[in-house]
């Protein structure tokens, strides 16, 4: 039976470690979840939450980010929701291969690809009112 853990944090970088800590601790409750899968989850959630925090960078006020952790028998599902301006995930600017000399000019562009690699499933839904990222990590890596 699924159990839910919800965490709400201010959209500030100082709270990023809190998000990672809570999600990893929640996943650790299931003793059969291996450490390497929890590490995958921790980094994937960090990427999603980093993007959520950065989406609020130009906004004023006390925007908050909701992180919902759904603990299933064989998986952990995490949703990260922000109230930022949103973006079109289908039209992300392509990033040059890391070996291309021009790649050094851009420090960013690693986050979403890394998140998609580490999570078994990653879904991004975005609108002008905010973005929701759903990540699924199974006990055993798939694909």
């Amino acid at each position: 039976m699924a159990e839910i853990v919800e965490l709400e944090i201010p959209a500030r970088p100082e709270y990023l470690s809190v998000a990672r800590l809570v999600v990893a601790a929640a996943a650790s409750i299931e003793p059969t979840f291996r450490d390497d899968r929890i590490d995958d989850l921790r980094v994937a959630v960090s990427e999603a939450t980093t993007n959520a925090i950065e989406s609020h960078a130009d906004l004023r006020g006390g925007q908050r980010i909701l992180i919902r952790c759904n603990l299933g028998d064989d998986r952990v599902e995490v949703e990260v929701e922000d109230q930022g301006p949103g973006f079109d995930p289908a039209h992300l600017e392509p990033v040059a291969d890391v070996s291309h000399p021009g790649r050094l000019e851009i420090e960013g562009g690693f986050g979403i690809p890394l998140m998609r690699t580490l999570a078994d499933e990653a879904e991004i839904r975005s609108s002008p009112g905010g973005t929701a990222v759903k990540l699924v990590v199974f006990q055993k890596r798939r694909g």
Binding site: I4, E6, L16, V18, T50, S99, L114
Partner: protein, 137 residues
């Protein structure tokens, strides 16, 4: 279970730090804690000040880092870009599987040499990771 972190009371529980040592003509940045969006300004500031002081051959020691994500990868790339303009080089040291995995998945090791110890990084030939200031390999 529902948790809510307060703006007034929330603090990062993992301290971040950078200790600097000088070995031969290398500057070794011993990074500890979590290298992420929160610690990025401190790391960037340290690299900028090190380069300004003439340190163009950097070893970034990640063996005491608990967490590395894409922000940290970007910071290392940024350091590489900065020292290259002075003909310098960056080498990375990492030994923990969770850190090495991020380095591998982002292909960083294709442009920044990665070693398992500071000793190994310093012992490698002077040409490893060195490129022209223009960035062309």
């Amino acid at each position: 279970l529902r948790l809510s972190a307060s703006r007034d009371t929330g603090r990062s529980s993992v301290s971040f730090g950078i200790d600097v040592s000088h070995q031969a003509d290398w500057v070794v940045l011993h990074v500890s804690g979590e290298l992420d969006l929160s610690s990025a300004p401190a790391f960037r500031h340290r690299v900028v000040s090190t380069v300004a002081e003439g340190g163009h051959r950097l070893v970034v020691d990640l063996t005491a880092v608990d967490h590395l994500d894409s922000i940290g990868i970007g910071l290392i790339l940024g350091a590489q870009k900065r020292v290259r303009t002075h003909g310098g080089v960056v080498r990375v040291v990492a030994d923990a599987p969770r850190i090495c995995r991020v380095l591998e998945l982002t292909d960083l090791a294709r442009i920044v040499p990665v070693y398992s110890s500071v000793v190994a990084a310093l012992a490698d030939g002077p040409g490893a990771g060195v490129s022209t200031p223009s960035g062309a390999e």
